[in-house]
């Protein structure tokens, strides 16, 4: 046989073998291109979401589309709640009812005095020409779920833009300030709690009015006061109330109690830790506050007025009663 022909056969055989190997271990063609394309799309989306105001429309559309799945996701929590509701015994309910009735009596007694005090306060403020309005209305919202990420402190509530909730709205618990609304969807919204490490709230010491800023530490038990001078008059046990500066939170609500003050000679500021008064990690109901100053002109006439407190809603059980 010709050696040339033999070589030719060899080459053909080699070629087919390589093709065979290629087909067996086929690299998914175009995988890398698609990866790069989709990665670029994600980055573009993130930039757009961070910078463009129009993206809220896109997001609310997506949220509306994902609502059924959202409902399914919250199903276990709802079921657990339903089971605990159904399985509470009659005696427990009766005793709780008695307790709450008694408590309601006490609170109403206190509020009688409050009415006259409030009237007096308004008169005094009028004398001082102060334009601080005290009439704040609230709306009760139920906590549906909690963000699963342990590093972000967010809760999900069942009232949304259809109920008049707006971005930046202050949220109260039964015993103190809880946080603010950061994202509003049509039928639900997300609340950033004051203990989230991305949250800061202007406060003042109730005793003497010393101002400070309390930032979250991503632990449910701790807030940290920043830039408090070493010589500042602040003590363990002091109650911190919202100062109303920054115009986001109404003034005068309890925020936290100082638990630890650490003076370090090497540091310019004292290290002050405080525990939130609101029970941030329990409780089922929260209050959304509508204040005159927090309501922007566009929202002042919006459905907020119709959705605000009615006597029936106000008699809902207390937060953190369990």
């Amino acid at each position: 046989m010709h050696s040339g022909l033999c070589n030719f056969y060899k080459i053909v055989a080699y070629g087919t073998r390589r093709r065979l190997i290629k087909t067996i271990f086929k690299e998914d063609s175009g995988d890398l291109e698609r990866f790069v394309l989709l990665a670029a799309m994600s980055v573009a989306l993130m930039l757009a979401d961070a910078r463009l105001a129009q993206m809220t429309l896109v997001r609310s559309g997506l949220v509306l589309a994902a609502t059924p799945l959202q409902w399914v996701v919250q199903l276990p929590a709802r079921t657990a709640r339903w089971i605990s509701d159904v399985s509470t015994s009659r005696e427990f309910l009766e005793s709780e009812n008695a307790r709450l009735t008694a408590r309601n009596m006490v609170l109403e007694g206190k509020s009688q005095r409050l009415i006259s005090m409030e009237a007096e306060n308004i008169r005094l403020r009028m004398l001082l020409n102060a334009s601080d309005s005290l009439d704040e209305s609230v709306m009760v919202a139920e906590v549906i779920s909690v963000d699963p990420d342990p590093f972000t402190h967010k809760i999900f509530i069942d009232k949304g833009s259809r109920h008049g909730v707006f971005k930046g709205q202050p949220v109260l618990g039964a015993t103190g300030l809880m946080g603010q609304v950061v994202q509003v969807d049509p039928y639900s919204s997300r609340v950033l709690l004051i203990t989230d490490s991305n949250h800061a709230i202007p406060v003042q010491v109730a005793r003497n009015g010393l101002r400070a800023i309390a930032i979250g530490t991503s632990s449910t038990m701790n807030l940290e006061l920043v830039h408090v001078p070493d010589t500042a008059d602040i003590r363990v046990g002091d109650t911190l109330i919202s100062s109303g500066m920054g115009r986001r939170f109404p003034s005068g609500y309890p925020v936290a109690v100082v638990v630890d003050i650490n003076h370090h000679p090497g540091r310019p500021f004292a290290k002050v830790r405080a525990t939130p008064t609101a029970e941030l990690d329990r409780g089922r109901y929260v209050l959304l506050v509508f204040t005159e100053q927090s309501r922007t002109p566009a929202q002042a006439g919006a459905p907020a007025a119709g959705a605000t407190e009615t006597p029936a809603e106000a008699t809902l059980p207390d937060t953190g009663a369990q």
């Binding site: 271990f25 998914d28 995988d31 698609r34 990866f35 989709l38 990665a39 799309m41 994600s42 980055v43 573009a44 989306l45 993130m46 757009a48 979401d49 961070a50 993206m55 896109v58 997001r59 997506l62 949220v63 589309a65 994902a66 799945l69 959202q70 399914v72 996701v73 919250q74 199903l75 276990p76 929590a77 779920s145 909690v146 963000d147 699963p148 990420d149 342990p150 590093f151 967010k154 994202q183 997300r190 490490s197 991305n198 991503s218 449910t220 990690d281």
Partner: protein
């Protein structure tokens, strides 16, 4: 390995279950080690049916998670995309590996994903204390054999 028509339903159901399980509230201490269930399920399908679960699917699932969790749009999309891409590169080897070695790969891949998420977060937020965010990669690796077993038997049953 070509997919069967019955697999489609199983894929959808498994993802929904993963999302639901991921969102179940846990006690505070265990919370830090919450396995990345959705990533594990995606990893399984990307290895088992790489032709069915492509990069676009993974990206869409990530986007859905962004919408559900209220994160910045594209955050989870990019992370899931990375996961699927790595899975597509590794699937032939991963199928051959014994369980322990698979778990090691899962640890690395999920760890990379968490690193990416942390990195994205660090651009626009104050982020968590160092290295805590990597704990889920360890628990994910521990739970990988369970996820693999469950989905595998479910697929065999569905036939």
């Amino acid at each position: 390995m070509e997919g069967r028509p019955g697999d489609n339903l199983l894929i959808v159901v498994s993802f929904i279950v993963a999302i639901v399980v991921y969102n179940i509230p846990l006690p505070h201490v265990i919370e830090y080690g919450r396995p990345e269930w959705i990533s594990l399920v995606l990893l399984y399908w990307a290895v088992a049916l790489p032709n069915r679960i492509g990069l676009a699917t993974a990206w869409s699932i990530g986007l859905l998670l962004d919408v559900l969790t209220g994160a910045i749009l594209g955050r989870n999309a990019l992370a899931m995309l990375l996961l699927a891409f790595l899975a597509h590169r590794l699937y032939q080897r991963l199928r051959m590996f014994p369980a322990l070695q698979q778990a090691l790969i899962v640890f690395l891949v999920v760890g990379l994903q968490l690193l990416l998420l942390h990195w994205i977060d660090s651009f626009h937020a104050v982020v968590s204390p160092p290295y805590f965010y990597l704990i889920p990669s360890l628990t994910s690796a521990l739970f990988w054999p369970l996820v693999y077993f469950l989905l595998h038997t479910a697929r065999l049953r569905a036939r």
